[in-house]
Point group: D2
Chain length 352, copies 4
């Protein structure tokens, strides 16, 4: 039996933290060696997530109480709130330079720290690390991730939008200035904080858009779409909240370039993703449902004709906690540590 | 106290039928004199909808058993399945020519019977009535409805899309060829039939689009938008299903004509609807939630800037069973019978 | 047209406050003259509950800023958090002795202030008012409520359990020491505070009991059941949370006394409630669903045989925000002010 | 690597069929060699459950088209509707006597075919097989299952009630005539058939009991509880429907025998289940939530004091599709085929 690597999860009391544990407990090559949770320090994981009651796990620590040398970790997942990770990662690298990091926050996703400062309202706290960070969309940056020390795991919305659109932009198959992304997300994307607008009675039996015209994920979309297209692109993007726990569905309206029709766009995606273990392109005309990827690391992509000539409708679906966050993070870990990419990620979606 | 009119509801065992009864039982000028339900004929309303147990109501009949003369009705609501209403209405008019009809199905919505035949796959069964039918979007056709004998109550999706768009098209304020309507509906819009794809476990905890590129509501949208614009228009329209009971939210992407920005579109809508009792335009930049119109006859409309120059995002929300169906039908009745338009329709939305 | 009374609602930013407004806006004899909300003082009601956007309403005040004399109110509804009402009511009565009060909190429900202190952990702040307070279960205490100045509106769970059980205890029809109440509630019963355990992702797709063996509502049950039975009674009561917004269902297990069977219990309830406008006893063997009373002021009660000889199962259902709180409060107001009891409360349940 | 056994799943288009596939695709010792689905014969699994799109699986067959000899199966799971399995199993055994069968229906659960006939309204179709069938509650009948050829997988409700109660009855720790089981189930327990009462709008936002006083699961409870107690027992049992997909929670009211209190009952269960991989007894006073076992094969059991002297409240929770059906079926398979019992069943619950 192969030996196990030692893994730390910072921020284990949040949803992406719990999802990491769910996946890592089924991963044959990992040992969960460290867990932190600031407000729940010195509690057991079962106190914050009772589903882990039957499993032995390390006690929750505060980050400041971690002995980074003694912990002897191979890799750390940071599932901390946005803007808190930069200093933490710097401290880890200072004390334990060999440890690798996959960061699930937005802290290292924007390669230009000036853009970061504009969207997040404060200077980047670790610009020297930003330059080393690799953007962790595995299907696009697999080669870079293999040698990365610090990977910035992409956002859930942006993963759902990029996987269908980046290959089409690279192929110059669609008009870059006419992209409209109408995205819908389940509630776990908003985290576990107790806020009035997130309580059950405010969310169930209703539907609404939020952040209309100004959502932080736009910076990440702009960066990656502009890279793919080779010039600056601004897309329309509207997020909505669905009364469900998990899942993102992006309905994407595009216009084919130089007469390319929907079938041709579908053919391009089918070919690009033919061998990817976690990207599944449905037969032409079929469109996905979020429930069919729930709990799995798959993204399903469908392409259909729009009735307006020259236009196509692309719909993609993933589980925001799995392929949109913790599953993709484990996928990044597998690439960084040289494990077969699907290791520990082969769970079939749970439906119903 | 003013005398009451005698009302019949055909198809009382469906959701729009039940919603009609909920509203009519609170309407001071109506008496429910006749109820039909084919498969539940000779049962009581409480057998099919127990919420009516405390209220005295006529027994459910089969339509063929109705004595149209003896019933002495003033107005009939037809809440029957699509394509079954045409012959029924002809039969009613033949026997009781003075009765007025509000039809909630799609049977009389398309003024061109050839278009009807193309979308519905069979010849119209009552073309002579089609020419008399008035399209019942009150805010647009109030004058015609006043004198109508037969009103075709609009569809739920189309009401939600038309009320924000028709005034803008009439004012030539938006580009008619760049309209994208991304619509999301609760499950009651799909009716009460027991189908596998509608059962709880298939619907909850998930989200998906359906009818991508080819949904029958498009014919109605084409007709009304083309009328408003003064030339043929084809819009992009994608419906989705939300795991909730009631509500439609339409996220509409438009481009202003001749430099009109989002604020100007907002100003146009605010002005047009200033005195309408059931259309509420939110302050600029605010967008609506379906839960805040649940069970009411209101439509809420919001307009916001898109980050892409020249474009705007319009979001409208209504309750598909109320303003999108039975509430609008009662509103039509009020206009047809000369009652003050808000009579029996002043219920505040029920949230939470 | 009859003149209108002037009403104040303290705590208008919570769910029972919003429900009071929904009902009062449809009440022909009331004018909403005052609204308070401590944390949202100086905001408009539309800012905290957008469904009220189309309606003119007074601005939200802080209680300390109210001029109780100048407000010239006839009746005040207190929808404040538990333990905060006692001092507020004392202050109101000191300044405006003629105003009547319906309190929706638990503050005045326990007639014995020593019992209050034991369950709530602090001395009662207004014991002199407690002795004047009338327990507002209208069907049981209608006569006392007519002349009351201060009414303690019952709890939602306790209303659901008392209406079926009190008449049976009074009639000595069931064994008082073998009552088990297994109760299930929707989430609005927990209020609007943003707590982790109430957010959507913690509540949806799951079910659990809480307060097992020690829930504050027990004190109220003990008091009223003991009164009804003429001796001290302790019942078993377990509350559970259902992933839905509104509704309480109580499954009650009882044993008939002296050979009384389930049919006889049913007959007793049917007779007692024959003329009550808001209590509906279903035919023997039928049991209710919460959805069929949603948004209405009705309680539905069903009685069925248990398969264990000598036992019966009673199931009652109400909407915790309506008959379980604000609807019952309006019913109390109607009795206190001499209006016909169903005034403003005749809305049919909204299903689906 | 150990060789794989060949598995067939009859009734793969239902929910327990899909759940079997979800588990078996992650089981290292099984190969899915045969799938049947009568109404969907000759379709692919992806057509009836799109989550399986990325996985190669055999085409769906009709049972009559199966070549039982050629299929060379080691074990067959029958996930067919109740009352259809008896003849199918007889046919399988006739043609392929070496194959083992785990039946998920109720067809072989009642050892007395006369009792079966009374509850199901028809003679048992394979009484000679009934006498060989072993009741598949692994924790209770593990020894018998090891050598069984035909295992009757227990029902979901009954598993949830038996695991806490059988050890207490065997230990004569509780009064056998005062057991009340108030059970609540998610919707997948009702199967995948498209019936009006199961559609989303009829189920969401509401709660109700069903089968009050007369539910078929009672026969199974009677049989197993009577065996455990050593004399005939009849329990009170009321099932309810929760608007969620997965999960059963049983709230069980018991009275300790000879002064045994809740702590002692807890101690008995803790001891009995100390080494069971799939039964987790929570610390005394804590009670479980269904969401924390979702998708796992665990049952969580909690015991708390009732406030009524001499009584205790026991609450158990499991996932009706996993430990309540397909997970338990795989557990039975593991025992029958000599695999370590947790093989393929170690998935942590998926929450949120």
């Amino acid at each position: 039996m192969a030996s196990k690597v030692r893994i730390g999860v910072l921020g284990a009391s949040g949803y992406t933290g719990a999802e990491l544990l769910r996946l890592l407990l089924g991963h044959p090559r990992t040992e969960i060696a460290l867990l932190t949770a600031e407000r729940r320090a010195n509690h057991e994981m079962r106190d914050v997530f009772p589903q882990f009651s039957p499993y032995p796990l390390p006690k929750l620590l505060a980050i400041d109480d971690v002995d980074w040398v003694g912990a002897a970790l191979d890799l750390v997942f940071c599932a901390l709130p946005h803007a808190t990770t930069q200093k933490v990662v710097r401290a880890i690298f200072a004390q334990a330079p060999a440890v690798k990091v996959v960061d699930l926050s937005a802290d290292f996703r924007l390669s230009d720290v000036a853009v970061y400062a504009r969207w997040y309202g404060h200077e980047h706290h670790a610009p020297e690390l930003q330059s080393q960070a690799v953007y962790g969309l595995v299907e696009i940056y697999r080669r870079e991730i293999r040698h990365a020390h610090l990977v910035a795991n992409p956002g859930c919305y942006t993963t759902c939008a990029q996987l269908p659109l980046v290959p089409l932009l690279k192929a110059k198959a669609i008009e870059p200035d006419e992209i409209i992304i109408d995205a819908k997300s389940g509630m776990t994307g908003a985290g576990r904080a107790g806020k009035e607008e997130m309580i059950f009675a405010e969310v169930s039996e209703g539907f609404h858009a939020y952040g209309v015209g100004h959502h932080r994920h736009m910076a990440e979309l702009d960066q990656e779409f502009s890279r793919a297209a080779g010039r600056d692109i601004t897309v329309t993007f509207t997020p909505h909240l669905v009364p469900m726990n998990r899942g993102i569905l992006a309905t994407i309206y595009v216009r084919g370039r130089r007469g390319r029709n929907a079938s041709e766009l579908h053919a391009t995606l089918t070919k690009v993703y033919a061998k990817e273990p976690f990207v599944h392109v449905l037969p032409f005309g079929q469109t996905p449902q979020t429930r069919h990827v729930r709990g799995s690391n798959m993204i399903f992509i469908g392409v259909a004709n729009d009735r307006v000539a020259g236009r196509a409708i692309i719909i993609s679906a993933l589980d925001n906690l799995t392929k949109g966050a913790s599953g993709q993070a484990v996928q990044n870990m597998n690439v960084m540590l040289g494990f077969p990419e699907p290791t520990g990620l082969s769970q079939v979606a749970m439906f119903p």
